[in-house]
């Protein structure tokens, strides 16, 4: 299946990466080559094979409900690109959350 620059643009939107028209043109065939190479994977395993999401079959790893010290606000905000009133300052937001 060939990816068009439009498909790539849609993916770039989902991935929040700004790509120029040239980059879209360049990336579409690169992704195609990789997708072709991995396509056989979908033919190998039938649905009676269970999917494996974790390397080891561990279950029920829980921690006790105990409060531990937090970081200081100073440490939390030290790397922030922009700060106002001890909060992270971000540009105006267009969309609403999920």
């Amino acid at each position: 299946m060939a990816l068009s620059p439009t498909d790539v643009a849609r993916l770039a939107g989902l991935a929040r990466i700004h790509l120029t028209a040239e980059e879209l043109e360049r990336m579409a065939p690169q992704l195609d080559v990789i997708l072709d190479a991995v396509a056989e994977v979908s033919q190998v395993a039938t649905h009676d094979v269970p999917p494996m999401s974790h390397a080891l079959p561990l279950t029920n790893v829980f921690r006790a409900d105990e409060v531990r010290p937090s970081l200081s606000a100073e440490a939390v905000l030290a790397a922030a690109p922009d700060v106002e009133e001890n909060r992270f300052r971000v540009p105006r937001i267009l969309g609403e959350g999920a």
């Binding site: 993916l11 989902l14 991935a15 790509l19 094979v49 992270f88």
Partner: protein, 511 residues
């Protein structure tokens, strides 16, 4: 000990000498810092050298030892830390521009365990951006050069750690392995690298690439050194839910023993043949002969689904990558561009991610976004997870029959810098042999087994063992190391490097 004795010594020897107070940790640390100063301009293994911090740490260890305290076998020995491990207050970039200048407010569990063992952290080593690559050419800070041939790649993603060992800039190093990022650099630099059983070492504080595959592990010039380091970093960590709550396998004992009498070794049929360099196959076969001499039984085993491992890996890994790297959004830390007061958060995120990530990272994020997107999930991510099960079942079946599986660690020796940059698929094939163990989560290591006759470059021998049988990896590695040393009449492969022509540009000759 003089400068060259210090640089050429194993970590075990240095630890013993420091404990015996025949040399101080400060002297040892200074010797390696000087070596970095002398050769890293050519090798570029390090992204950050913390000379002051290392010397202070060394002095503190010396003081404790002078005070009569008994410390571990590696106390006072320096180490090069891959720049993927968080170290409080020390720049940590994961090779990415997006994290340039970021100083974590916390230590990775591995970092903490190293420090608690008295190991002196020299600095942070170069790597492919977010560990995505097999050559370090994807580092935002320029590639590392292979000490065996400065025009060649040192492997990746942990090329900086492997090169620092081969250039005698450090006696120990730390790596992480998602598809071969410890073993492949180990193979192409003639050093030892082990990927522990998934869950055997903590991922807490290790900048994630693909969570279900990533695993920190030791890098060294000898098998025993790697085992000693393995023992320091391994063991249950409650901060990592995927960490195994079980005793650490007896890796040091296995490395000291090296007894393979009666051990059944299976050669994986599918990991050889077409696409494998003749010199690689030749040295691999010779190594098998040596192990047979040492008392092991060699058989051939088929793992039919391994041929799909690369394809499944390039669906699972990018999927996890696309999610793990979402957090680099210019809101809380990291590079922010385009915030001119008019642009929205959405635009600033997109522009910052475009500016902060390199091409390979972008490609993988896009691939993963596609593989997970609605309508494609079953065909791509879902199928890949089923193939993962088949690979795991191949391993299970094989380990019913044999104690360990073996293969070359990489199909070829180190290629030239720039050779595969424009061809992602060719680059991905560097990890053909190493990926299956990441998929199944078992233990695997690469051990030097000689130089390919056609190019004089190192070849790696891979040993794979069932989950939590990491000791078998070391047992086979140690047997091979001994047999090869007997045969060569020198120490390790890197000793041959130091004694040869490269010794001059690697500052390993008497002035």
């Amino acid at each position: 000990m003089n400068r060259l004795e210090i640089l050429r010594a194993t970590a075990a020897e240095l630890g013993a000498a420091i404990a015996a107070r025949t040399v101080t940790s400060v002297e040892v640390t200074r010797a390696f810092l000087d070596q970095i100063e002398a050769v890293d301009g050519r090798v570029h293994a390090f992204l950050h050298v913390d000379a002051a911090g290392a010397l202070a740490q060394a002095a503190a260890i010396d003081e404790r030892l002078d005070g009569g305290e008994k410390l571990g076998p590696l106390a006072g020995v320096p180490l090069a830390l891959k720049d993927i491990f968080c170290q409080e207050g020390i720049p940590t970039t994961a090779g990415s521009k997006t994290l340039e200048g970021w100083r974590p407010p916390y230590d990775a569990t591995v970092t903490r365990r190293l420090q608690e063992a008295g190991i002196v952290i020299l600095g942070k080593t170069n790597m492919d951006e977010f560990a995505m690559g097999s050559s370090t050419e994807n580092s935002a800070y320029g590639p590392t050069h292979n000490p065996w041939d400065l025009d060649r790649i040192p492997g990746g993603s942990g090329g900086g750690s492997a090169a620092s060992l081969a250039a005698f800039e450090a006696p120990l190093a730390m790596g992480t392995d998602t598809g071969g990022s410890i073993r492949q650099p180990g193979a192409v630099t003639g050093t030892v690298g082990v990927k522990p059983t998934y869950g055997g070492t903590s991922r807490y504080g290790v900048i994630a690439m693909a969570s279900s595959l990533d695993q920190p592990g030791p890098c060294a010039r000898t098998v025993l050194d790697a085992a000693l380091l393995h023992e320091v970093i391994a063991g249950h960590d409650p901060a990592d839910s995927t960490s195994i709550d079980a005793p650490v396998p007896p890796v040091v004992e296995a490395a000291r023993s090296g007894d393979v009498t009666g051990l059944r070794i299976g050669i994986v049929t599918e990991l050889g043949g077409e696409g494998y360099a003749p010199g690689v196959e030749q040295r691999f076969r010779e190594a098998l002969d040596l192990l047979r001499e040492a008392g092991a039984e060699i058989v051939e085993v088929s793992c039919p689904h391994f041929r799909y491992a690369l394809g499944a890996y390039y669906l699972i890994m990018p999927s996890e990558v696309s999610s793990n790297l979402a957090r680099y959004d210019a809101m809380r830390y990291g590079l922010r561009v385009g915030d001119d007061g008019a642009r929205s958060t959405e635009e600033v995120m997109s522009l910052s991610r475009a500016a902060g990530f390199g091409d390979e990272v972008k490609r993988r994020i896009m691939l993963g976004t596609y593989a997970l997107s609605s309508g494609y999930y079953d065909a791509y991510y879902g199928s890949a997870q089923r193939v993962r099960t088949l690979i795991d079942q191949d391993f299970d079946a094989a380990f019913q029959d044999v104690d360990v599986l073996v293969s070359p660690a990489t199909p070829t020796t180190a290629f030239k810098l720039g050779e595969r940059v424009a061809d992602p698929l060719a680059m991905y094939k560097s990890d053909l042999c190493t990926i299956p163990s990441n998929m199944a989560g078992n233990a695997a290591g690469s051990f030097p087994c000689g130089l390919a006759p056609e190019d004089g470059l190192p070849v790696g021998f891979q040993v794979m063992a069932p989950p939590l049988a990491d000791d078998r990896v070391y047992r086979v590695g140690a047997a091979l190391e001994r047999k090869l040393a007997e045969r060569w009449g020198t120490g390790t492969l890197t000793d041959q490097l130091a004694d040869g022509e490269a010794g001059a540009y690697l500052n390993l000759k008497e002035a």
